[in-house]
């Protein structure tokens, strides 16, 4: 029997507001342990939360960018549970009246378009971080992250494969980056996902029993967790077992999941409206203001690249998948006017080198106008395409202006005919056998001789001139 995987995601994204959600502490990542804290975010007796207005604005932005409706009236609730990283022993979140609801994001997998429903987006506060000291018996808590604002984006169970999940997450990440509400740095924990997954025989309408895997913090881990957990569930069903509704922990190193707690053991969070906070009201005027402040979103930008720059669909998708990359592309195009060439350099050499060096797009070391300059050097015939590839590598490694690199290393194309013919004569003198071969009709010998000239000139000689002069010389 064939099985279908059904997945819903809960994505937590840290908002990039300057200060925390209920106090004025900085949200900056890192910092000495427990230095980005105050009586409020460490839950001292007597303190009160005051909602950061920016958090509401950012969450509404995220909602509008993912086609959500915005609640005119929403409230904040306490989610009660004990854990050392939660200083008040409750998390201020939103329960039954979230800020945004009923939205969607479009994705594309293997050229098939699909709409993924967004159930809701709500705001809440992040917890601190437990640090387990291996040499001591106890653990320590760092509250720097406590009170950093989060949005939780809950999808409908509309996803059917790891590929769809990947596409959804990439689109979501791109949207959040575009609207500048989150830096989405997974390695810093600013984007994390809980995966709700069930399987069912293909064609069956009812959902199977689902499990939840919490706090997956890389795309790769999410994909592997989906593959591992769906295989486990199918195996259980095939061998006559039943899936238990439970929370599982995905061990990405071992590639297996472990049961953490069953539905019966699940926390009763005793949600109730936080009496320390007033209802959140987003009136039509404010909503419109936020709407008008939204930038061009990835989908629109992709369409524009296809029509404005005549880029292939695939290239446009890749370039717009990251705001940083798309901005880099447009900056280079603005200077060089050759969109196709810029796109090719980015799609080819740039992304390849980033991948080889395991660097993020945010880490592109040189400014976009260097790429424009490089393309200009080729267009003006100052350097050859082959040399350009070498200049590119150096430009990447040393963050140097390509013009300077070319000058310093004397990489300009040699188009002085007298200089080239001198080298040709020298090459011919050293290769009498090849001359003979050529004269006997062996075309390969010509290519060999061209190569020798190129070698002598370290690739800088204009190949057209070599061809012309060599031919003249041999045919004498």
């Amino acid at each position: 029997m064939e099985y279908e995987i059904v997945i819903g995601l809960e994505v937590h994204s840290e908002l990039s507001t300057k200060s925390k959600i209920f106090c004025s502490c900085t949200t900056e990542f890192g910092g000495e342990v427990n230095t980005h804290t105050c009586p409020i975010c460490t839950g001292m007796p007597g303190v009160l939360p005051v909602l950061n207005k920016k958090v509401v604005e950012y969450a509404v932005k995220a909602g509008l960018a993912s086609n959500c409706k915005i609640a005119e009236y929403s409230k904040q609730d306490r989610k009660n549970y004990f854990y050392p990283d939660l200083p008040k022993a409750y998390q201020i979140s939103q329960y039954d009246l979230p800020l945004c609801y009923e939205g969607y994001i479009d994705i594309e997998v293997d050229d098939v378009q699909k709409r993924i429903g967004i159930t809701r987006i709500h705001i809440e506060e992040d917890a601190g971080k437990l640090m387990h000291d291996e040499w001591e018996t106890g653990s320590l808590v760092d509250y720097n992250r406590g009170g950093v604002p989060l949005i939780e984006i809950v999808s409908e169970p509309d996803l059917r494969s790891a590929q769809e999940v990947k596409a959804y997450l990439e689109n979501l990440k791109a949207i959040l980056e575009y609207i500048n509400v989150s830096d989405c740095k997974m390695q810093e924990g600013s984007l994390r996902a809980d995966v709700n997954l069930s399987v069912r025989p293909k064609g069956q309408k009812e959902f199977g029993t689902r499990t939840e895997m919490k706090n997956l913090n890389s795309f790769k881990a999410i994909i592997r967790a989906i593959e591992g957990e769906s295989a486990r569930q199918i195996e259980v069903i095939k061998s006559g077992g039943v899936i238990v509704q439970e929370t599982r922990r995905w061990d990405d190193n071992k590639g297996v999941s472990y049961a953490m707690r069953s539905k019966e053991e699940a926390h009763d969070y005793r949600y109730f409206p936080d009496p320390d906070l007033m209802p959140i009201v987003v009136d039509e005027k404010w909503k419109e203001e936020i709407k008008n402040s939204l930038p061009e979103l990835p989908e629109a930008r992709k369409k524009r690249y296809i029509s404005e720059f005549s880029l292939p669909h695939y290239d446009a998708s890749i370039l717009t998948s990251s705001k940083v990359l798309a901005d880099f592309f447009e900056e280079a195009v603005a200077k060089s006017k050759n969109a196709k060439a810029v796109s090719n350099w980015i799609m080819g050499d740039l992304l390849r080198i980033l991948k080889e060096k395991e660097m993020e797009i945010e880490e592109i070391p040189f400014p976009a106008d260097y790429l424009a300059k490089l393309i200009e050097l080729i267009e003006k015939g100052i350097i050859s395409g082959t040399i350009a590839k070498k200049v590119f590598v150096q430009m990447f490694d040393e963050r140097k202006d390509p013009g300077v690199i070319v000058k310093e290393k004397g990489l300009e194309v040699i188009s002085d005919e007298s200089a080239i013919s001198g080298i040709i004569l020298k090459v011919l003198e050293n290769n009498p056998k090849s001359i003979e071969d050529y004269k006997n009709g062996k075309e390969k010998a010509f290519g060999f001789l061209v190569g020798q000239v190129m070698r002598e000139t370290k690739g800088k000689a204009d190949p057209k001139i070599i061809n012309k002069l060599l031919k003249t010389e041999l045919d004498k």
């Binding site: 009586p39 460490t42 839950g43 001292m44 007796p45 007597g46 303190v47 009160l48 939360p49 005051v50 909602l51 306490r78 009660n80 004990f82 050392p84 200083p87 008040k88 022993a89 409750y90 808590v141 009763d268 005793r270 109730f272 936080d274 009496p275 320390d276 906070l277 007033m278």
Partner: protein
């Protein structure tokens, strides 16, 4: 009359006219504390050295003419659930016995700016849960009028200290009657302001939607003066009200002519001590004779106020007190096996019986499956109680009745029966539920020479009318001049 028996106004006049310095006055209060607080037990912390130091600084400002606060140099004390930077704030709990706040409550800061002199921190029921101050981890506080009796609670230390001349005035907190009832038991004036009128920032939360800080003083004029200093919008408290706060001393007028005052029948029929009832009705007559129009009316929802109050306050408390887990500050059990055992042992040992009872009650009320039946139902009752009062205020300028059904009872008399104790909140709790201001003033003495309190309830942010009625009553009666003989 001794110096410590004077009102804030009188003390202030002496200081302003240089007849006495703040240092001398503070020393008088400290000496008085040394002499009688061993018996009364109103203080948890006495700031002997720092109070004198502070009084010197303030006196220096007074001498240089750098302050014109009517409270300058006045020795004051706070209930021990109001945070004071660098000064222990224990909530009368083992859980916070070693807790020194790194910040000041907004009211602490405001009274500091008014150049008052903080003398110490006052005893209370643990986390303000109780009506007799018997639930303190530290000690019992005794009623200055009869030391075999309770001072009321939870602000028992605050009321007893003012009644015994151990502080010129005190700040208490009131969640279901915790300022007004002890004020009534100790024969002093206690005001619970409108919810949102005084910032809760730095008040250790018991029930966030009900808690309110307020003054306990020797008379209504002092109450107005203190309200001027502590009310106001505070950006640090989202529930603080951004409205215009009047000069409350302007409402100190000896005139109630034409004021319409309603007396809820339900407040003077069942469960009320006869002497209390008589004193309150005599009080009503005094006001009537001065031209107020008083009549009885029905406030039918009264009987549901107590259950609604205990559900809402305990539900909020169960969440508010969850942070005392032994991780970050305060008490931590010495022996535990793992994390959940650390929580269990710490909370079992750190909290007293009454606090644990309410945490359990509140946790239950919020649990899935019971939420609608208890917590939600209580919120519905809350809406009805609010409605009952707002209907009444269509007809009346103020509502008047007893503060508590009895006078001060004997220590130990009710401590074994929490339900009996809870019924003592019958006239006060609904005022918190509706978020209204309530003023308790002395209106008589019972046959045991114990003070009786009368409560005046007002429209939201209409403290002025309450002060006006209270002031007029004082000007025409002598009860506020009674002092406990201790």
């Amino acid at each position: 009359m001794e110096l410590y028996d004077l009102s804030v106004h009188e003390m202030s006049d002496l200081i302003k006219s240089k007849k006495i310095s703040s240092v001398e006055l503070t020393q008088v209060i400290l000496d008085r504390i040394k002499k009688v607080d061993g018996e009364i037990g109103s203080y948890i912390t006495v700031l002997e050295e720092s109070a004198i130091k502070r009084a010197r600084e303030v006196q220096d400002k007074i001498d240089k003419g750098e302050t014109n606060s009517p409270l300058a140099g006045i020795p004051v004390a706070f209930k021990d659930n109001i945070c004071t930077e660098g000064i222990k704030t224990t909530c009368a709990s083992k859980m916070l016995d070693n807790f020194i706040p790194p910040y000041n409550a907004t009211v602490s800061h405001k009274l500091f700016l008014e150049d008052t002199v903080l003398v110490g921190k006052l005893n209370m029921d643990e986390f303000a849960m109780g009506g007799s101050t018997e639930n303190s981890f530290h000690k019992l506080t005794k009623n200055p009028w009869d030391t075999k009796r309770v001072p009321g609670g939870s602000s028992g230390g605050a009321a007893a200290s003012v009644a015994a001349g151990l502080a010129a005035f005190a700040l208490g907190s009131d969640t279901g009657g915790s300022i007004r009832q002890p004020a009534s038991f100790c024969g002093v004036v206690g005001m619970k302001p409108t919810y949102g009128a005084v910032s809760r920032y730095g008040l250790v939360a018991f029930a966030s939607s009900l808690d309110q800080i307020g003054p306990i003083s020797k008379n209504v004029s002092d109450c107005a003066l203190i309200l001027n200093a502590i009310t106001g919008y505070d950006l640090n408290d989202s529930t603080s009200a951004n409205v215009n706060y009047p000069d409350y001393t302007k409402s100190l007028q000896n005139d109630v002519k034409g004021l319409k005052i309603g007396i809820p029948k339900e407040y003077i029929t069942q469960g009320i001590n006869d002497e209390v009832k008589k004193a309150v009705l005599d009080g009503v007559k005094v006001l009537e004779n001065l031209g107020a129009k008083c009549e009885e009316f029905s406030l039918p929802i009264t009987e549901y106020a107590i259950p609604a109050y205990y559900l809402i306050s305990s539900a909020e408390a169960s969440s508010n007190l969850a942070r005392y887990d032994g991780i970050k500050y305060g008490f931590r059990a010495e022996k535990f096996t793992d994390l959940s055992d650390l929580y269990r042992q710490t909370r079992s040992e750190g909290f007293g019986t009454e606090v644990k009872r309410r945490i359990m009650l509140g946790t239950y009320a919020l649990s899935s499956g019971y939420y609608d039946e208890y917590y939600n139902k209580a919120l519905q009752v809350r809406t009805l109680i609010k409605k009952g009062f707002s209907d009444a205020f269509e007809k009346y300028d103020a509502v008047l009745g007893p503060t508590a059904p009895t006078t001060a009872y004997k220590i130990g008399e009710k401590s074994e029966d929490p339900l009996e104790m809870y019924l003592g909140d019958i006239y006060t709790a609904s005022v918190n539920i509706a978020g209204l201001p309530g003023l308790s003033i002395p209106c008589g003495m019972d046959s045991n020479n114990l003070p009786i309190g009368m409560q005046i309830i007002g429209k939201p942010f209409d403290e002025s009318t309450l002060l006006r009625i209270g002031y007029t009553f004082e000007k025409n009666t002598e009860f506020h001049k009674n002092r406990a003989k201790i």
